[in-house]
């Protein structure tokens, strides 16, 4: 028999479950994660870049990636974008007559495209099998193909379009920059920074790189200043710490200060990234998206943890549903007859 009370009871159970989905942002809010203190990263200064692509070639070599051909003669590695087998590329902004470097109008500019190593990466939050992991100490966002199921949720989640999948292979992997973490134990740091002839790409701790970026922004455009190349030593670095890395410590040279936009890209975007960028041309025009300071991983995990934290909500709803279902299933034979009378 269906009574009003039965109906209300059903509403209670069903409604409670539906309501749980309605108010995600109450308890167990998960804040945007911060960079670890020893986070490693890169500083890319577009005004120092000459577009030589030495970093693109070095990246290919360091990661054992094959060349990709897009020119008529299949002689040179000519990737048009990052891909499952190209983890780093220098893109070019062109406008009008392209006369002046780093001018938005009638000029041109360069921009490095590679993983930003977010403080709170979407790919890590998205990955269902922990194939994308953020190292607790270095903050490097690393990929493990042996864990990966190839679902490509990381590809969809990243707002920078960085993880890329090898669609042309039956055993395709995800490809992305891992800051050359496999070379660190031999004292090598990121190959792109190692080979950069102008110091446009600089390797170091993000904290130090941020200070260097802010130093440059504070200078007057056109002034001469010393800029480091290769690796930026950490503030208060001991000789033992310095000995960990190969190569000359001081490769600095005197260069002219660029006509910067007063913004360090990556300082705050999406909760901050470990790769930072300086540019004289509007960041959106050179291919860097305009992102809010809050990470999407924080929003997504807040919703999930609110609904499923400790499985309390699902278990409570299940208990309610079981109780109701038990009462409603038992007298079923009578129900059926009545329903058809």
């Amino acid at each position: 028999m269906t009574t009003r009370r039965d109906f209300l009871r059903g509403c209670l159970a069903g409604g409670a479950a539906a309501a749980t989905a309605a108010v995600p942002e109450v308890a167990s809010a998960r804040d945007t994660l911060q960079r670890p203190p020893e986070a490693l990263g890169l500083l890319y200064d577009a005004t120092l870049c000459v577009g030589c692509q030495a970093c693109v070639a070095a990246c290919k070599q360091a990661n054992d990636n094959p060349p990709e051909f897009h020119a008529m003669d299949n002689l040179w590695d000519t990737p048009l974008d990052t891909s499952g087998r190209t983890f780093n590329i220098i893109k070019m902004y062109r406008n009008g007559t392209m006369q002046t470097k780093d001018a938005e109008k009638n000029g041109f500019a360069f921009m490095k495209t590679s993983c930003m190593h977010c403080a709170d990466p979407s790919c890590v939050s998205a990955c269902p099998v922990s194939a994308m992991i953020k190292d607790a100490k270095t903050g490097i966002v690393a990929y493990d193909p042996d864990a990966c199921i190839g679902c490509r949720y990381c590809v969809a989640a990243c707002p920078f379009g960085i993880p890329k999948y090898q669609f042309d292979s039956p055993t395709g992997k995800i490809g992305k920059c891992e800051l050359c973490r496999h070379r660190h134990q031999d004292g090598h740091y990121s190959a792109c920074a190692e080979v950069c002839p102008t110091g446009a790409t600089l390797f170091g701790r993000t904290e130090d790189l941020l200070a260097e970026a802010q130093r440059r922004l504070a200078l007057k455009p056109g002034e001469w200043t010393f800029v480091p190349r290769g690796r930026l030593p950490a503030r208060d670095e001991t000789p033992e710490q310095a000995a960990r890395w190969k190569g000359l410590v001081d490769q600095s040279y005197e260069a002219q200060v660029g006509n910067y936009i007063q913004h360090v890209y990556g300082e705050k975007e999406y909760g901050g990234t470990q790769v930072l960028k300086l540019s004289a041309v509007n960041f959106q025009k050179v291919g860097m998206p305009d992102l809010p300071p809050k990470s999407s991983a924080a929003t997504s995990e807040t919703i999930q943890h609110t609904l499923y934290g400790g499985m309390i909500m699902p278990i409570a709803v299940l208990a309610g549903l079981t109780w109701v279902a038990r009462r409603n299933v038992a007298p079923e034979a009578d129900e059926t007859k009545e329903g058809q009378s």
């Binding site: 269906t2 039965d6 269902p128 669609f167 291919g287 991983a297 299940l318 409603n328």
Partner: protein, 388 residues
């Protein structure tokens, strides 16, 4: 789903022009999948890094599982809201759900680039509970198992296993409760999949209440699919339509649809996203197509008189299904823009082999539905309904 003897096999031949056509489509799918597994996803699909998810995910899994919510929606009405008279609708709806979900689960494997690792998603040490996809995968897998148990009385009945059936029936309420909870969890999470994509998803579809929207729409789609299936099954098997059940059920559907529309509209207004609906963009156009599809049933079957008209019920069911399709395609494909517009040049339209696999999956579903309803007691016995 217990002692319910008013269900009976439809009977009749299994081999005819229609089932053979279905089998042909399934064979074509198998051939394409052979190529896909031998040469990679790129050999069969138009997937790319700007659109890493295509119709195999969005249609086969996300839309396919929403279409398979008939069993959940009807079972909830019968067992949770204690509307026993809808009981004859449970088995056919559950059967369609069973196929929909089982095939969605298998379909995922076709799309996984490193499918041999798929078990990692259930394995402690690999599994990442922060991932929305982890929740979806675990929950859908559990639901598929629960549904087979819920449906098993049909087989036990057919094979005369009375003792086993009685034993199962004593604990069936647990599975019925689980079978209501699990779809609530993963149908909402299928929407939450969008959240981590952040501003890459157009504000018309990116919202923190997306889990509620996907849950409510899935319930509505569940009823819409039952309307659609009942009409199609009645016409294909030359049976009477269960109007005495469909007419009141359509009212329930309109109620849930009304709640959905209120939440949808309120959310758009509160977030200030409504402006995007009036921009001259493809996204806005598809938003209105979706909205019209969802509003149409209110106009088609708004009155009791109209709900007694089988043709109108059928059209309303189709409109709801269309709205559900559009809402999901809009969120995951049309309203999705990798890199927020600074990374242009990405396009996606499914390749012919890709579409043939999706069509093959639906053909397999229809074929299975025909075989089981003709041989097992699923659809209501004809005489029982005619007494009304």
């Amino acid at each position: 789903m217990s002692a319910h003897d008013s269900a009976a096999p439809v009977g009749g031949k299994l081999v005819n022009a229609f089932t053979l056509s279905c089998a042909m489509l399934v064979a074509m799918m198998a051939a394409i999948l052979f190529v896909r597994f031998l040469f990679g996803l790129g050999a069969a699909t138009n997937l790319n890094d700007g659109y890493p998810w295509g119709i195999w995910v969005v249609v086969d899994v996300i839309i396919g599982s929403a279409f398979a919510c008939g069993g959940f929606s009807v079972a909830m009405m019968v067992y949770i809201f204690n509307k026993g008279r809808y009981h004859p609708l449970v088995r056919p709806a559950l059967l369609a759900s069973l196929f929909g979900y089982t095939l969605a689960g298998i379909g995922v494997i076709f799309d996984l680039g490193r499918w041999w690792n798929f078990w990692h998603i259930f394995w402690p040490g690999y599994a990442n509970p922060n991932s929305v996809m982890f929740e979806v995968a675990v929950c859908i897998t559990a639901y598929i198992i629960v549904m087979w148990i819920e449906f098993s009385p049909v087989f036990l009945e057919k094979w005369g296993l009375k003792v086993q059936r009685q034993k199962l029936e004593k604990v069936l309420f647990v599975f019925i409760a689980l079978g209501t909870l699990l779809p609530m969890m993963h149908q909402s999470s299928l929407g939450t999949l969008l959240v981590v994509m952040g501003p890459q998803v157009n504000p018309l579809w990116q919202t923190p209440v997306v889990p509620l929207l996907y849950l409510l729409s899935a319930i509505t789609i569940g009823y819409g699919v039952v309307l659609f299936e009942s009409c199609v099954a009645a016409s294909a098997y030359r049976r009477e339509i269960e109007m005495n059940l469909l007419t009141p059920m359509a009212k329930v559907m309109l109620g849930v649809l009304g709640v959905f529309l209120v939440v949808r509209a309120t959310d758009l207004i509160v977030r200030g996203a409504l402006g995007h609906a009036f921009a001259p963009t493809l996204e806005a156009f598809f938003f209105w197509l979706e909205t019209i599809s969802f509003v149409l049933p209110l106009l088609l079957i708004g009155t009791t008189e109209a709900r007694r008209n089988p043709a109108r019920l059928f059209l309303a069911g189709v409109a709801i299904m269309l709205g559900g399709i559009l809402m999901r395609i809009n969120g995951f494909l049309i309203g999705y823009d990798t890199g927020l517009g600074v990374d242009p040049g990405w396009n996606y339209f499914p390749s012919v082999p890709e579409m043939l696999v999706t069509i093959g999956m639906f053909a397999l579903e229809v074929l299975g539905y025909i075989i089981i309803t003709r041989r097992f007691p699923v659809l209501p016995r004809e005489g029982a309904m005619a007494t009304h």
